[in-house]
Symmetry: C2
Subunit: 276 residues, 2 copies
């Protein structure tokens, strides 16, 4: 077996190493170092600035959870805004909801989209859907400038380093609040409560200062190797824990089901206590 390994730093004291079949692509984009690495363990991965963003092996866990928990607790989400998510995986799940008429996806780095189309077609398939509009723009400016109103905004961002920092701020959540309909919701990937407790708590507090209802759900994404991964949902009206009455089960999902929805919002004691 070959001895090519990719070393991924998580914290100053902890990292993961993945045996590599092949480095399929690597470039420095305007915004970040981008690589597509085919790993022995998790198949093809998208790597930004040295960290795996998604792997073919378990991207379904992340993408189903960030999309369906929020989408299923809103009775009729028609217009959806996705900030980030240039691999297309979150949009793929959102577009499975037949209430959806329009998805605006705002990705800052065109090279993420272009490389995902080439190397990660099972995620980037969503870009072919006529309901999807792709904007290569800064998500923060898009939200400030748009005249649209949305039912759902999903923040599918990378870690809060560099350009993504502001996507975790109270100011940004306020701007999102202003672009949501009166029963709109926001779903945010909010990192691992174990390794990035400060970010996790910060998202909860910032969203809580803007939205009436804020709830956290969890799912263990193996590729992130950080125990439970968190998603935080802010809502103007609907309770994110409750599936809206008339939802049909979407066929073919690999992680999410109606019981998983309820179970995901049950927090272990130590995580509950972080949010007190």
């Amino acid at each position: 077996m070959n001895q090519l390994w990719f070393y991924e730093k998580h914290t100053s004291g902890y990292g993961v190493h993945w045996r590599v079949n092949q480095v399929l692509h690597a470039e420095k984009t305007k915004y970040q170092e981008l690589a597509i690495i085919d790993t022995v363990e998790c198949g093809k991965t998208l790597v930004l600035d040295g960290n795996i963003q998604v792997s073919e092996m378990d991207e379904f866990i992340y993408h189903e959870m960030i999309a369906h928990t929020a989408m299923n607790s809103h009775p009729h989400p028609e217009k959806v805004l996705i900030i980030g998510g240039g691999d297309g995986g979150t949009a793929r799940e959102v577009l499975k909801h037949d209430t959806v008429l329009q998805v605006d996806l705002v990705e800052i780095d065109s090279r993420v989209v272009e490389n995902s189309k080439i190397y990660l077609p099972t995620m980037a398939c969503s870009f072919q859907d006529p309901r999807l509009n792709l904007y290569i723009e800064d998500g923060i400016k898009f939200v400030q400038n748009t005249k649209e109103y949305y039912d759902m905004v999903i923040i599918d961002s990378s870690d809060p380093i560099g350009p993504a920092v502001q996507l975790y701020s109270k100011e940004f959540y306020l701007d999102v609040h202003n672009r949501l309909n009166t029963d709109g919701m926001i779903a945010v990937q909010s990192e691992s409560p174990i390794f990035y407790q400060d970010v996790f708590v910060n998202v909860f507090e910032n969203l809580s200062s803007v939205f009436d209802t804020v709830k956290v759900c969890l799912a263990p994404v193996m590729t992130y190797t950080a125990g439970p991964w968190s998603f935080t949902v802010g809502s103007k009206k609907w309770d994110p824990e409750r599936i809206a009455g008339d939802k049909k089960q979407i066929n073919g999902l690999k992680y999410y089901n109606e019981y998983v929805h309820k179970g995901a919002f049950i927090l272990p004691q130590f995580i509950k206590e972080m949010l007190r």
Copy 2:
């Protein structure tokens, strides 16, 4: 910061590396390579044959879940047998149940117990409890030879490599079944369904061939960096998903609560499908 790193192999394609404050102890015992390593990220860890068994940082997740889900679904567990668990963490949690009159802990390697007493006192504290009897013996032979009957047997073993292999066999589960009272239960650590799917499915099938009711619960143990970790419970009478009626909430737990109990048995689609 120092550059001493401990490399932990999980599969042939994947491993984790931990920055090390200090190697506190290392020896070759009669059965395995044993080390106590103080890591920057997770505090002191017990390492057997190169794999972290427990870390101070999140051992509470593993130990609370292997103990309390089963113990709380049994109305009056008095006599408990723990196979493995020489660090004392599982016994510590079991002994929090005031119905418990006797815990027999059978660890094959005395050096695990002795080193845990020195280096991991927050787990090994349980060895001071007068209700606990420590047997330094092979767990398989102990179960074959004992004349005792138990309400609960907990298999807190290492991975199914070397001497632990037989602890995952149908024959062993049959021997346990014979030493359980008519409403007895067995709780087994059953590995990660993602990385050790064969072991996980095998435990479920072997237990199902012996016990009337077999259920799986999940918890993400960060230190094991493998997404969800599984525990499989076999029962002669009581439903492991249901907390027995008269249970008092145990104070001071950091992971488990009555809602976590219910939520832990909700399985994602892909894991449900593994068990069909």
